[in-house]
Symmetry: C2
Subunit: 330 residues, 2 copies
């Protein structure tokens, strides 16, 4: 109750997030910020067309997580899933490298149908998350296609081919976000970031290069963050030099980036007002010249998620209160 009242009093929160790790903090935030006062801007750089279907992996992970129907073991896909479609498809010689569960498939079929009928990805996403009982405002970062593409030792690969089909094995030489230049920032996200009623902006512990990078590459996004009326806080996705999940540490090595919290903060340089470090990296705090909070960022339980969400909001309160935000903006 206390958090809810605070939410109503303090305005809305914008969270930028990718898939699994980001979705965990988004779930925590949804317990601290009421209803559509939580605006979750989700990476769509991982989206792709597969089997004639429009797949939006990060949006689905966020929506399923907030709806309480995610497979908590894998972090993606639906709980209590079955795989009859996939087995039958393999029997027909169809492409089976990207696994689509029977229930999950309904999301892709319905999304694709609505997109073909002319609805925007934002409208389709709103329809789906409302049907699944998700009250937070989950939005694609853009209604225009942005496609994260990985230049590797095996050539240029679309993201899912790198990530799923090739299991992140090829060496990454560069990452680019095809289409980002021409994409328009989703208008409700732009509006939320420009609002004087903004409480905080949270960069969730997602992969900076693969999940938040695409969002920051959309024209106007960086400016929207620097001009926002509220503190911008990033939560480290790196714990003791390792990623909790996914290929981030491997990619940092391949790109020649030190696997330190300072590298992550550096990626967000000029955009953030505060950085949340994991306890495992407490010693790194002294290397960094921006406000730091040390927390447990590995989220195992729901309580962990809510605690980290509240830590983000308290940090934002403190930064707003002591004027460190104002200073930077000025």
């Amino acid at each position: 109750m206390n958090d809810t009242r605070r939410g109503e009093a303090r305005g809305h929160v914008v969270a930028l997030c990718g898939g699994i790790g980001g979705a965990k903090l988004a779930l925590g935030l949804s317990h601290a910020v009421p209803g559509e006062q939580l605006v979750i801007a989700v990476n769509t750089g991982d989206d792709f067309e597969h089997l004639g279907l429009h797949i939006s992996p990060d949006i689905d992970t966020v929506v399923y997580t907030l709806a309480g129907i995610v497979n908590t073991e894998s972090g993606w896909g639906r709980a209590e899933e079955s795989w009859c479609f996939m087995e039958a498809l393999a029997m027909l010689g169809g492409e089976a490298w990207f696994r689509l569960g029977d229930k999950d498939l309904a999301t892709h079929v319905e999304r694709t149908r609505r997109l073909r009928a002319g609805e925007s990805l934002s409208t389709v996403t709103a329809g789906i998350r409302k049907r699944l009982g998700v009250k937070a405002c989950v939005l694609p970062m853009s209604d225009d296609p942005v496609r994260t593409t990985v230049e590797t030792g095996e050539g240029v690969l679309p993201f899912q081919h790198y990530f799923v089909r090739r299991r992140c094995e090829p060496e990454v030489r560069a990452v680019f976000y095809a289409g980002a230049d021409a994409a328009r920032l989703q208008p409700d996200i732009a509006h939320a970031l420009a609002s004087p009623h903004l409480w905080a902006v949270i960069l969730c512990p997602s992969n900076p290069y693969l999940s938040l990078g695409p969002m920051l590459a959309i024209p106007g996004m960086r400016e929207a963050l620097t001009r926002s009326a509220a503190p911008v806080i990033a939560v480290t996705p790196l714990v003791g030099g390792q990623a909790v999940k996914g290929p981030m540490a491997k990619i940092m090595n391949e790109l020649g980036i030190d696997r330190t919290p300072a590298s992550i903060a550096g990626f967000y340089d000029g955009l953030i007002d505060g950085f949340i470090l994991d306890r495992a990296d407490a010693a790194s705090a002294s290397d960094m010249d921006l406000p730091i909070v040390i927390e447990q960022t590995v989220m195992v339980t729901l309580e962990d998620r809510i605690a980290l969400a509240n830590a983000c909001l308290s940090f934002a309160d403190r930064l707003a209160g002591d004027g460190s935000r104002k200073e930077r903006v000025a």
Copy 2:
């Protein structure tokens, strides 16, 4: 073995068929005629686009039946099917009136993908039936769209809307086959019908108005039947004035057609050389002025299906032998 040798000696057989009843006889024929010497021309007038997928109900029923994976209780769809996709789709507010099982869905997704990639329905069907181990040559009646459309008391309805969504309840005033005029008879069917090595043509016990009518409306099909070198035999779909399954009897009433075998034979007037009546209608034989054979046409067991198939082929042998075919063609 005997049947197989006979098949090799006697050339190929073309079966024209719709869904459930037709597929049963097609299965019987596949035990009597080896491999691709059995050419099954399947109605695609029931095909439609649904949820962005190309659904070919009759082709799937024939392929699943011959592959031994059909749901034998309903006669359509796959055996041991699950419905997780459908339940999840309903949860999202998607259209759930046309039931697509999880395994069955793989067929539609794979077919749609290949059609969009530029393959013909014939090629896609060949790929699918081969993967499922079906040796008979199952072909769509045309690679061009023909859409059976029903004029009813509730207006003009696409076939599946009439058949599934409205459960055949609206009164039928007329049936037409949109696109048939411009459709090209599938070339392998045309070739098989024109071949001197043709043994028999069987019009399976399918609904004449809804399943074989679309095929007969394709330019060249009627001529191909009348000019064929082999006897053309129809098997009644009407038993004691009733349809074994489906809305045929109701439709005959609504169209003011007597529910007699003579009406069915009349629909095929000028096209067939012989007609197989059910035992229940033995008394009707005297009303008809074409060669008649009386058989058990209700196929409950596999043996029933094979027996009826052999009866068709023996009938064709007799008609070819006694010159009644030649007489008509001349």
